[in-house]
Assembly symmetry: D3
Homo-oligomer: 224 residues x 6
């Protein structure tokens, strides 16, 4: 199985981190092909970045390697997701979407814990676009920029850990979704010490595309 | 991996059909253990049946075989699902829930096509309980009882095929979910000839519990 | 008029308290027949308890005494209510439902004040299932278990009084519904000293079944 | 018990019919005092009529006879209801509100069947204002003016009977509310021959104000 | 162009302030005709005031000067607006409606900052009646009566300024609407020193009626 | 006043038609500068087209001529609108948004009448993104492609006229919004012969940006 994973921003280091986590989640039988957006911004922090990222992501998916079985949009605002889905014949999931849907199968209400407060209004719009307002316990953001959080991984982790605790104790979240590609790997650590599951969008997305391929096997078979 | 699949009604023939489909979907590495509800009704056709089925399903899941990694509620009203989830430490999914969430990752709006018109109000309640009203294109039911449809599989299939076509052409459904354990196997056939994917709840549920186990591996590992 | 009131938990002392309050509310012309759930949990504190209680409650209502004119589900999560309604020809109300609907006719928004924080997510689901999210001012819970609150009635009352005040001053509640069978009798006391009405679910339910019987008299008459 | 019932339009014949039905529903122990709006329109058919009716209704309730225990707004758009409620210390209900809330305790979804198509958008707004959109199966209107329906009671009754049947068979209504003061008395007849209950707003309102008085007796007692 | 602006309360000083602001916003080519409600309350502070104001406002608009091209309801609960719209052939807007709709074209979510806490529940109802719940960031009220705020304009302004800041920093409002006719002129000052636009309802309404007249010119032309 | 109007597709003929209509609506004091998307598709008919159009539109607005006072996105899916709004300091409106908001000030519920059925799901998403689901009477589409409708203007006009009539008679629309840049000029004709206003998005957008500039004059003044 060949899965294309597209980092919607232009930072190759994020692509590498995301690809590494995806490989780990996918297991030996699956090939992960990672691509970095060929234009746009090094971090998706506002609506303008997201619009350009949507175009770059769509291009990367439409221009996929031969034999691609599925694609993942690895950016927590899922830029270009529904358009990509209409444009190719294989399944496409976004890391935000995959983690929200997975969360809904683990508990009654989920919270999003993320880094930059500036992204909160867009995350709220995203949850609403997916129709999941009534499943959302809350959104909590650390008071940090996306890029600066790269430079202080330890402080970032501690800040997120506190927000996860607040999401559980104050918002009654039964599951927490960690938002932002920069948080790759942190979810594992937080999940181990939290009373509720803490989901990593990249892991959820890799697993969900495998599920989608399986769900569609009755159709895909026909074409063979 | 050991997955417990509980048929919430008391008909062993349905359990067998469901288990066979689940085995096929799960692949060789997974053990499927099927259980029939130990009390209740031979078919879940109204709210009373569903309440008793919820209790029987919950009992069956709480009293699971040693080493169970996940459980599936194999009844299209997901009786007892959220309670079972609170009661055991492994993931539990329902076939309705799993197919709705899977459908949402395949298209903007999904339709449910099912057999008995009497179940439509409860399905509407279920979609609302999951918060997915805005993702629902519509619900269409054949004019048949659940049990009688067992006796006329060909007629049932034709009736469902027509409803799938109407869901696409009139309700703009981008995905169709086939409702009711009795429809096991029919989805494959309909999906092959439909312009949109037709999902089978049992297949979706088997794949989704595998995804949930993967998503939670960061927590499960800790306990080992 | 004969009204069956079912305590969905297995504590006879709760049944007695509920029956006493119901008799008082019903007035001399009405016979109250009280039943305790024949299986399940001594207090309904989570979704598992509620699923089993739904079955026990449904059984108790279906197996009603001859001449029953209406039934009441006396448990603040209304377990089995809609199923019971489909299963018998007389009206059935739940104490949560009856108090919510009554509250909506007394003010623009109501708050729920209850004992155990663990029940809050399920209460939120219940309000949503009844379609009344936009009428809900908020839910506030004392930080107590249901059973321990039996042992400290004075402390419980004081805790609830404070929450009622907060519901009015902070959430702009125009009516307060007191949740939980254990609160029987407390509502009267709180209502007397609160700026807004404080409703008792048992009282509301007794009065509402009388209303339902009256509303349906045009149908019931036909059968006579 | 003294209940003031206000006909929000200026037609004394409607007041009489409404009062007669209310007396019948209230039983011997209750005094019904009926008032006709002192200004406004002979039938409430549009938003302008409703605004003026709200003022007239509010005046009539504020200027109530001494010893009034509760008031009813007897017009199916409940003009001035929430304002009246804020202005007097006794309970006030509207016939639309009372029938919607009663309907919600009898079934999962209710339909409104009414006379004039011109009132449908306002009824939709009313259901939304009460927060009950998710409980509404549909609204169906006969193609008649309110006044002309007075002149052809038989034809009106037949038209409404057909709409009730459609509400049940097509919209899956589990209860039907008959809208419009002009339909007084018709509900009884339709309810007798329909598979689901058909509610009369005036009857529901009389019974609901009795319920509200009972629910508030813990407060009212204090003042004595 | 002749615009009728109706102050729904009976205070001529408010009418004057509103008319002055409207003239300033309208520019030289437009004639503003201001009317004070001929009956009702000197300030609209509860639902009773609003019901009577709706009637007075409707009367004032229906009885408009010859040649009126549009009308404005200058009261922040828009009393009688939809009824007035049905009753005359020219456009009518309310200052709350106009500012909400304008705000939605300036940012993703808006907050309302107003004077009297007693009006908050009705403002919440109003936002819901317009369907804009998902666009509302929040409502914040100073702890003042409407009339007393007239007497301390400086204190009122400072209180509102703080609330605007909280709306931006805590509720993530991207636009703020200043509620209440008494706030005329304050918006300008606050907007100058706030990070987000602060809208004045009267200004928005004057501009929106001009827009409506333009939008309808294709119809109005026909009658000439 | 200088208004930039961006045609989000790459067809210069559409740009010309849109600019001509905008000039007519704007009146003599306003300069209209029209731009065609520099990349993308000649017609925006699916989500992929819309994603690329969003990027091209955003670029065109960010790279605006000196002295631009406001911008209009002239494509009925408003591609890139909210991102453009965040990226520039002057007001930006979309023709869909402007017509929806204008429609809401003219009647209780509006319908959208458009050309291509393929765009209906995205229009539904758009109405939901703006929070206006409860104000939507319905969406009706002619059975035509966008490009072919250029070639048969008369047939297109007749098809749209029929849909407008159905929107009024069947969906109770009180206002109709004509969707799609290709319909420029048709609205005027249809509005003249329809019982309800028929709005042209380009006209609404021109008038609304003028309104926004006026509403913000208290802020803009400060910078001078």
């Amino acid at each position: 199985m060949k899965i294309l994973i597209v980092n919607s921003n232009t930072s190759p280091s994020v692509t590498e981190a995301v690809a590494a986590r995806a490989c780990q989640a996918a297991g030996p039988g699956t090939e992960i092909v990672a691509k970095t957006a060929s234009f746009g911004s090094p971090a998706i922090q506002n609506r303008k970045d997201a619009v350009i990222a949507a175009h770059a992501t769509l291009d990367a998916i439409v221009d996929c390697p031969e034999g691609t079985d599925a694609a993942i949009v690895a950016c927590f605002s899922d830029p270009g997701l529904w358009a990509a889905r209409q444009s190719v014949s294989f399944p496409v999931v976004g890391i935000a979407e995959a983690s929200f849907m997975t969360a809904c199968m683990l508990g009654a209400r989920f919270s999003i814990v993320t880094i930059a407060p500036t992204t909160v209004p867009q995350l709220r719009d995203l949850v609403r676009a997916y129709g999941l307002e009534s499943r959302l316990a809350g959104i909590r953001a650390a008071d940090r920029g996306v890029l600066e959080s790269h430079e202080d991984p330890h402080g970032t982790r501690e800040a997120l850990r506190e927000l996860v605790d607040l999401a559980v104790s104050h918002d009654a979240a039964e599951v927490v979704v960690l938002g932002g590609a920069v948080t790759v790997g942190i979810a594992d650590e937080l999940s181990r010490c939290s009373p509720v599951p803490v989901l990593d969008g990249v892991v959820c997305a890799v697993l969900q595309v495998q599920t989608l391929i399986g769900s569609l096997s009755n159709r895909i078979a026909r074409k063979a």
